[in-house]
């Protein structure tokens, strides 16, 4: 047998890959209208007509999906947005909690400790003093996360805060270096989700009541990031001196603001 690496390279052309679908149709999706790059979306939204049409189409699709469950898949296929709907369904129906670390099933990265996390990143992790020390800490390295990494603090039970679904988690605090692009962030939330602008100790924030699917921001290198919200609950997002902090949980707005105000 020749060199192993050569043999592996030679295997590539011999493999039975699934047929590659034709994806060029994505350029005709409603989500792609309005120009080539994100900045052109801004103009299109401000001038409204295209956005209004797209928003109406989304509202119509959502209404149709809600009214006619048996035809969900078909309708989703017509508008070619079936993937998004599937994601929402997963968030809304968490599966029973298995034994083991709470955060492991939420895809938060590798489990670590605060001490080790601080050694591995170059920025300050803010801790909400009202919640105390987190029960678990997770770190996603930059290659799989926003530039300079992402840290998530997991809080199990805390007095007065219900557990979110069957996750066993009451609050998640996720932190990454970056900034929220307000226009893009708000527009990408979709027409059914309206964030409320808040200020927390001088920091701009957004309170979002109810579950939503994805969250968009710019990481420390200015790269566009999309992240899946982990708990189907309420969310407070704060631009905290160059760190984007996301607080998720079945929290009231007052509880979330109190937690955010205690970040040190």
């Amino acid at each position: 047998m020749p060199d192993l690496e050569q043999a592996l390279t030679a295997l590539g052309p011999a493999l039975d890959w699934p047929p590659t679908p034709d994806l060029t149709g994505v350029v005709h999706l409603p989500a792609m209208r309005g120009g080539g790059a994100e900045r052109r979306w801004g103009g299109a939204f401000e001038n409204a007509p295209r956005w209004a049409i797209a928003a109406a189409a989304v509202v119509f699709a959502l209404a149709a999906l809600a009214l006619y469950p048996p035809s969900r898949e078909a309708i989703a296929n017509w508008v070619n947005v079936h993937t998004s709907f599937r994601q929402v369904q997963h968030l809304a129906t968490p599966s029973p909690q298995p034994p083991g670390p709470l955060g492991e099933r939420l895809g938060l990265g590798g489990r670590t400790t605060l001490v080790d996390a601080r050694k591995q990143i170059t920025w300050k992790i803010a801790i909400p003093s009202t919640l105390g020390q987190p029960d678990e800490v997770y770190l996603e390295p930059p290659a799989d996360a926003p530039a300079q990494g992402e840290v998530t603090l997991v809080y199990a039970t805390r007095p007065g805060i219900p557990i979110a679904g069957q996750t066993g988690v009451s609050v998640l605090v996720t932190e990454a270096r970056g900034a929220v692009d307000q226009n893009f962030f708000v527009k990408m939330l979709g027409p059914n989700t309206t964030p409320e602008a808040v200020t927390v100790a001088g920091h701009q924030g957004y309170w979002i009541a109810g579950p939503f699917n994805e969250f968009f921001f710019n990481d420390a290198n200015g790269n566009f990031r999309s992240e899946t919200v982990r708990l189907a609950a309420n969310t407070l997002i704060i631009d905290y001196s160059g760190t984007v902090i996301r607080i998720e949980g079945n929290l009231t707005k007052a509880q979330a603001l109190e937690i955010a105000a205690s970040l040190t």
Partner: protein, 187 residues
């Protein structure tokens, strides 16, 4: 221009100016790589299709953040692979990637490389069995590096790990494969 494929950087520049046709060509050019990369991560053709599609949509939206002159493959792969990993997380299941040899493949088919011609059919089959028997991380890094022929930085982007980790993970995977190959009964 006839007869010469348009350079990636020209295509991306045109797409950044809002030319849909240019982005359509980018999708056409990279859809196979994107889909197969997502397949390596999800182990499911339908999930891979959704991930690749969503990845191309998100890449389009993020085009203005693509740095002119930067290599587009790692950038695109990172977005698509991120989508694929998000799907694995949201579904909370990962299908085991199991690759198979194409039926009736002969080294003479599809303009094989000299290396392909030198590997006997039974060796290919046995080697693939051993690759499929490896752990998920080992399979992913070997599939990315050798079957998809991604570079080190592209593999890092696809797997969401630092390039140094790619090297060390690949080294360990190859060592395990060598061991299992040596131990396996030869045809």
């Amino acid at each position: 221009m006839e007869g010469r494929p348009e350079d990636d950087s020209e295509l991306f520049a045109r797409a950044q100016r809002g030319e849909t046709a240019a982005y359509e060509e980018i999708v056409r050019r990279y859809q196979q790589l994107a889909f197969r990369t997502a397949y390596v991560i999800t182990g499911s053709a339908s999930e891979a299709e959704d991930a690749a599609q969503d990845g191309f949509v998100k890449a389009f939206r993020a085009l203005n953040r693509f740095r002119p002159g930067a290599p587009p493959r790692p950038w695109l792969l990172r977005i698509v692979a991120n989508e694929a990993r998000n799907r694995v997380r949201s579904t909370q299941r990962r299908l085991g990637l199991e690759l198979r040899l194409a039926e009736g493949f002969r080294p003479g088919d599809a303009a094989p490389s000299p290396e392909a011609a030198s590997v006997a059919a039974e060796d290919r089959s046995r080697l693939l069995e051993l690759v499929n028997a490896l752990g998920q991380e080992d399979r992913e890094v070997i599939a990315s590096r050798y079957f998809l022929e991604l570079s080190g930085d592209e593999t890092a982007a696809a797997l969401g790990i630092p390039e140094g980790t790619v090297k060390s993970r690949l080294s360990r995977a190859l060592a395990r494969l060598r061991t299992s190959y040596a131990e396996a009964p030869h045809a």
